[in-house]
């Protein structure tokens, strides 16, 4: 009964999505307020029904109602409650429902936080979002109905893929989806602006907080996913350039470019065409990501099921979205004239450089991700493009991005004096290079990669300090204390500062772990020791440690540095019973300057075990950097400027709708 209610709610949501897609758009075109006003209630009711449907599905999982096929395939009575709940999105159908629900959440958030938008503009935004929602809800209903019954019911469920039974899986998908789907808001704003022919600074200002918010979710989602891969896949890597990772990374790259390009459009009215194009591309990349992950064209832990009909549906949706928006763009773009001109040395130039480089990197990642699929589809052989390609391309293209990132905030809009900038930044740059060389020697890894990484990171950090000092110094009211002047700096500026600082911290993590990590595979018996990177690992035997839905062999390994005992690690080799699937559960001692990571391999005939030992210097800095970027994004999106504007506009909007 509950499942049927959920199914019915999903159908109602589809009807509402269609209404939301058509009526407000017609209203905006004909300037009829009654029609435009339909958008908000339709969006809100849609959210209600989608959440209701989602709740029904969760209910089936929690109560182990195995007459619902999805629950029978992805849950088990012995699965811990939290994984019953997260198991709802650990599969194709449920994750689509989550997709639709996230979109609906964003839509309602727009109706709440952007109340001040002109009625016609809001109607167009809601119309576009409604159309996307209709596309995805119908996809869910017609090709991937999560409420399909299984009759007769299964006696017992098949359980959730053990890889997904992990705390990381509790938050990774919702964050990532909120990020993916969030770019639909930026997209809807761009399309609404194209429809109304109003691509101006106001449009950029309205889009900015939404784009940044989506970017924050995507950043967090990717970071959590990477952390999950690091400790769960059992061999200590944190990024694999796997097609599915790339699928989330491409919208991130374009989203980052979009954030910066929106800044130029808002401040200077320039790059308008380009900004619209980026908004369209970022959302298209999100859809492409969904296609790659959900169509089963690639093998990955994320690819749940292979069903050509599903892949085809998303592909058609993708083609429609790109086709319609580009047509609209081609029709409207010629009317747009460029904004203010700018000199070679100007803030605009540095941001232009940023945008071009991000676009090239995205293109390179896209090539490496899609080319194997194309060849395969055309029956021209099977190939794969591995991490060496992505690394060879990514590093040289990102180095200038980081250099521009340090320089950019010092440069004035429109026109600046090159000599001034050089005088300003040269000392820091020279110190950074010396630091890079010096530190590389100190850590004992004098390679160009280490020197480059450390020098860049040092420059980012030095530049951040200089930037903050400059910012405080240039505030008016020099008589006031530094504290007062610090408080006067707007949140958006702090956001930029923190996010850029985060990039520096991230680079330190990547460089140090890349240059200095070490690993050792050894066979160990009770009482035997192994040494790695100054640490002594003592194997203390293996005991049985059964869990709720698995059996496990748990090893105890003592880690010491010199005489000092540091940690006792307990890696496990598990066998999940429902699927008879073996799993390695690594054990880590996490520290600010290094992780010690141990995972358990196979047991050999003589009772010894294969153990993999890893020493990962500074790896936490990778996620610390991501956290700083995310916090920076939150600060930027929450800047009072966007809200103050909202307050000021309320009377105008009120008179308009009256």
């Amino acid at each position: 009964m509950i499942a049927e209610l959920g199914h019915f709610a999903l159908i109602l949501a589809l009807v509402l999505a269609c209404v939301q897609a058509v009526v407000p758009l017609v209203g905006a075109q004909q300037n009829r307020y009654a029609l435009m006003a339909v958008g908000r209630p339709a969006a809100q009711a849609q959210l209600f029904f989608l959440l209701f449907a989602y709740g029904c599905l969760t209910w089936a999982f929690v109560t182990s109602d195995f007459t619902v096929r999805l629950a029978a395939v992805n849950s088990h009575t012995a699965t811990p409650l939290i994984y019953k709940i997260t198991g709802v999105w650990g599969n194709h159908e449920g994750s689509l429902l989550l997709w639709a629900a996230s979109l609906s959440l964003w839509t309602v958030a727009v109706t709440i936080f952007s109340r001040d938008l002109p009625e016609a503009f809001m109607a167009r935004v809601l119309g576009v979002l409604g159309a996307i929602s209709a596309g995805f809800v119908s996809f869910t209903l017609f090709t991937s109905n999560p409420f399909t019954r299984l009759l007769p019911a299964a006696a017992e469920g098949r359980d959730l893929n053990p890889l997904l039974q992990d705390p990381g899986m509790i938050i990774h998908p919702p964050l990532l989806y909120m990020g993916y789907v969030g770019f639909s808001v930026a997209f809807a704003f761009a399309i609404a602006a194209l429809l109304s022919g109003r691509l101006d600074a106001a449009w950029a200002r309205w889009s900015r907080p939404w784009t940044t918010a989506a970017w924050v979710f995507l950043t967090a989602g990717i970071a959590v996913g990477s952390g999950w891969a690091y400790y769960e896949l059992g061999w200590g890597g944190w990024w694999f350039w796997d097609p599915v990772e790339n699928a989330s990374f491409m919208p991130w790259l374009l989203g980052t470019a979009l954030i910066h390009s929106l800044a130029v459009t808002e401040k200077r009215g320039a790059f308008r065409n380009w900004t619209v194009l980026l908004a369209i591309s970022a959302f298209s990349m999100s859809l492409l990501g969904t296609f790659l992950v959900r169509s089963g064209v690639i093998t990955s832990v994320h690819a749940f099921a292979t069903d050509p009909a599903r892949g085809l549906y998303i592909l058609v949706l993708l083609v429609l979205v790109i086709g319609i928006s580009l047509t609209l763009f081609a029709w409207r773009a010629p009317r747009l004239t460029g904004g203010g001109s700018f000199a070679l040395m100007s803030r605009e130039s540095t941001l232009l450089g940023n945008n071009v480089l991000f676009a090239v990197v995205t293109g390179a990642v896209l090539l490496g991700t899609l080319y194997p699929l194309f060849l395969d589809a055309l029956n021209m052989g099977k190939i794969s493009v591995g991490p060496p390609y992505f690394e060879a391309v990514f590093v040289p293209l990102m180095v200038p991005v980081v250099v521009l990132m340090v320089i950019g905030p010092f440069v004035r809009w429109k026109n600046d004096d090159s000599a001034r900038i050089v005088r300003r930044l040269a000392p820091g740059a020279i110190v950074s290079v010396l630091l890079g060389v010096g530190l590389a020697v100190v850590v004992g890894n004098f390679t160009w990669r280490t020197v480059l990484g450390l020098a860049l990171a040092a420059w980012v950090l030095i530049g951040s300090v200089q930037l903050l000092r400059a910012r405080v110094a240039e505030r008016p009211g020099a008589a006031a204390g530094a504290g007062v002047r610090l408080r006067g700096i707007p949140a958006a500026w702090w956001g930029m500062w923190l996010a850029h600082l985060g990039v520096g911290v991230f680079i330190i993590g990547v460089t140090m772990v890349g240059s200095l990590e070490s690993e050792l595979d050894v066979r160990m018996k009770d009482g035997q020791t192994a040494r790695l990177a100054g640490y002594t690992f003592t194997f203390r035997g293996v005991v049985d440690a059964p869990g709720p839905n698995y059996l496990a062999a748990r090893a105890t390994i003592e880690v010491a540095r010199g005489e000092r005992q540091i940690a006792t690690l307990t890696p496990e080799k598990r066998l999940y019973l429902a699927q008879q699937m073996p799993m390695t559960e690594a054990s880590l001692d996490i520290g600010p300057f290094r992780d010690v990571y141990v995972s358990l391999g196979d047991e050999l005939e003589d009772g010894s075990w294969i153990v993999s030992l890893y020493h990962k210097p500074f790896i936490s800095w990778i996620w610390l950097g991501c956290t700083l970027m995310g916090v920076g994004g939150i600060c930027a999106a929450a800047d009072r400027r966007y809200r103050r504007l909202a307050e000021r506009r309320v009377p105008a909007a009120a008179t308009q709708s009256a």
Partner: protein
């Protein structure tokens, strides 16, 4: 410099940089493509020598053997028609089992032995690596054509 010349210089410089970036991408791409071959193709001599490639298929039943050091593993990958002996040193994926699909990346040595640097298995019970499945399907197709 006149504004017009300056702009030309700017555009020219930008285009040159872009061309350089694209050249970098394409060269790296050329150098890092890893081709996939089925065991049968390897026997037909279609696989490259002196360059890494991938083979895929089933891990032959009874073929997994550990060397005395306990860390080096040898096994055989088959597409049901031909068998390629493989050695690998390192930790194997959890789902690497005899009779199940696997894909390995590495190089062929002079003796026709495949030295793997990477072993990929499937991610869950009911999922076969597409490449492994492909290799087996190809072999079956070939077998059918021969019978006809």
């Amino acid at each position: 410099m006149k504004a017009r010349n300056k702009r030309l210089l700017l555009v020219g410089g930008g285009v040159a940089l872009l061309v350089a970036a694209v050249a970098l991408v394409l060269t790296a791409f050329q150098q890092n493509l890893v081709f996939f071959h089925t065991p049968s193709e390897v026997y037909e001599g279609k696989a490259p020598t002196g360059r890494a490639f991938r083979i895929g298929g089933m891990v032959e039943e009874g073929s997994i053997r550990r060397e005395a050091d306990g860390l080096t593993v040898s096994f055989a990958i088959t597409d049901t028609a031909k068998v390629i002996p493989v050695t690998y040193r390192g930790t194997l994926p959890d789902l690497f089992q005899e009779g199940k699909g696997a894909v390995v990346q590495g190089m062929l040595d002079a003796g026709g032995h495949f030295r793997a640097t990477e072993v990929l298995a499937k991610h869950d019970e009911n999922y076969m690596p597409v490449e492994a499945q492909y290799a087996i399907d190809q072999a079956h197709k070939a077998a059918q054509t021969v019978q006809q």
